[in-house]
């Protein structure tokens, strides 16, 4: 996750006037980004509506119809558009639910990390002194350890359960928000509007919540779009290894891990969930990159 975050370390916050003055045309999306955005909308809709779209229950087994191929094969059977898995469960239904689970986890994880990191970043910038030192030491510490290893260790020590897993998703990447927010807030605090608001006697909550935070939101949102694919990859990697989401619940990574045993006879069991993961992360990265160049022209 360091690869993407390091090269946009601290884009300077721009005054709101400059942003508003940009012609509307600058927001027109290139074709590739439009496709990416369309895919993201589609995947989100699928994830939202998944329980309504599934033709079967995702855990409904039918041992008479195991490992049936998808519609393009002459051996496919009616009613199972994408065929069935090793237990005769409908692949389409599982794919829909798995997309919902993986996306929801990634979204919740990203939001938890963003809120936690932003809060600690503001706290470090506001208090300074030893609070700042401790927060930055934690940031350095987390940046120094590969998070996958930390996550694996915590899962080994504490055992796996859903809420712990969710907490781990949230802890992944908080340090990038903390570092970014801290540097943004430190420079925003010295700007005219912040000095004026403070001089008028605003309490810290009002100063940061109502005035500074909305002004530094741009880079933070970009960071969100860049962190989201990384959280998806963390969840799917752990689930792929069989150490993340546990059956009967399913996720895209877990489906891929299961399907890997049938590569020779039923490759689609692994390739379809993998394709959904790749398309989602790719679209999000393209969209995030585009958003970054929009919000910060020096990156172009």
């Amino acid at each position: 996750m360091s690869a993407e975050t390091a090269d946009n370390a601290a884009p300077a916050p721009k005054p709101a006037a400059a942003r508003a003055g940009r012609p509307v045309g600058a927001w027109r999306m290139p074709l590739l980004v439009r496709i990416a955005a369309a895919i993201l909308v589609l995947v989100s809709l699928v994830a939202l509506l998944a329980p309504l779209l599934t033709p079967y229950g995702y855990e409904e087994t039918d041992l008479l119809y195991r490992l049936k191929p998808p519609f393009w094969s002459s051996l496919s059977i009616e009613g199972h558009l994408l065929g069935t898995d090793k237990l005769g469960r409908d692949l389409l239904s599982r794919l829909l639910i798995a997309t919902q689970v993986s996306l929801a986890l990634a979204l919740l994880g990203t939001l938890i990390g963003a809120v936690l990191g932003t809060f600690l970043g503001i706290l470090a910038a506001h208090r300074g002194g030893w609070v700042d030192e401790v927060v930055m030491m934690l940031v350095d510490w987390q940046a120094a350890m590969p998070f996958l290893i930390i996550a694996l260790a915590v899962l080994a020590f504490l055992g796996n359960n859903f809420y712990l897993f969710l907490a781990l998703m949230g802890l992944a990447g908080w340090e990038t928000y903390a570092r970014l927010t801290r540097s943004l807030v430190l420079s925003a605090r010295e700007q005219g509007y912040a000095v004026a608001v403070r001089a008028l006697g605003a309490r810290p909550l009002r100063l940061y919540g109502r005035h500074i935070l909305p002004n530094v939101m741009g880079p933070l949102i970009v960071q969100l779009t860049l962190n989201f694919p990384q959280t998806i990859l963390l969840e799917t990697s752990l689930s792929f290894l069989g150490l993340g989401i546990q059956p009967p619940l399913t996720s895209l990574g877990q489906m891929l891990g299961d399907g890997r045993d049938y590569l020779l006879t039923a490759w689609w069991l692994a390739v379809l969930p993998g394709g959904v993961i790749f398309l989602t992360t790719l679209s999000m990265s393209l969209f995030g990159d585009w958003l970054r160049t929009r919000l910060d022209p020096t990156q172009r």
Binding site: M1, A3, W141, P146, L148, I149, F157, L263, W267, A270
Partner: protein, 312 residues
Amino acid sequence: MNLRYAAIKLLRAMITLWLVVTFVFVVLRLTGDPTQQLLPDDIGPEIRDYYRAAWGLDRPLWEQYLRYFEAALRGDFGISFRNSQPAIDLIWQRVPKTLELGLATFFCSLALGIPLGVLAAVWRDSWVDRLTMSFAVFGFSMPNFFLGILLILLFALNLRVLPSSGYGTWQHMVMPVFTLATAFAGAIARFTRSAMLEVLSRDYMRTAEAEGASRFRQVWWHAFPNAAIPVVTIVGFSLGGMIGGAVVTENVFAWPGVGRLLTSSVADRDLSIVQGIVVLVAITMVSANLLVDLAYGWLDPRVRVGGQERSR
């Protein structure tokens, strides 16, 4: 000055390592009584007490901590309860195999990523540039377990030119190295490109051109050494991602390295092995960051004179 810079970096590295060992100790003690996890449920309290005493669990917490720390310094993380050997021995057996994979990936990524990044910057907006940036985005978004599985499907199952998994010949290395190097080379190419773009716009590049230096000499003699500093940083940064990637990749290709040992130990909750690997990874990361910091000071004299920098 130079010595002070190195000393500060070394001190920070030590603090990070100490934090990791402390973190492991705290989390382990938070999980409750190890005798409950390791011993069968149906034994009497006197046997439980015997083991508690034998493992030092009846001592005050600070004494346990000191003992733990002292043992960790000696590389003693206890016995693997799965096959009753010292955890550290089991880990060391796997290290060379992971190193083999890691070093091959490292050199392939640098050999591919740096020239691509430099060319992309020199011929900005050309097809080379576009190809490089697409490659970087692809590497960043592609989960390595999925890339690995696609490679197995194509080269092992359909074309039948490479072994699908395992360890032994150089053919076994091709797919794991390719899988790991894709993301790493993409990141390196991207950073080399942006670092080069920055350097190429400097005044001294115009001077070099005015002096009549050839384009080749301008790029590789004047520009590249100046762009090398951010590239060294990102190489150090990417190591963490590469270690995480290696864990997954070793599992995809049944590569008998530390990563596979870690995942199987996590599944079995073989805690002494997990602790050992966490500390080993921490030592690797801290040493790598230390090397990067020192290389940074060596490549750019301004850093060691300017003292300590806060954010990287």
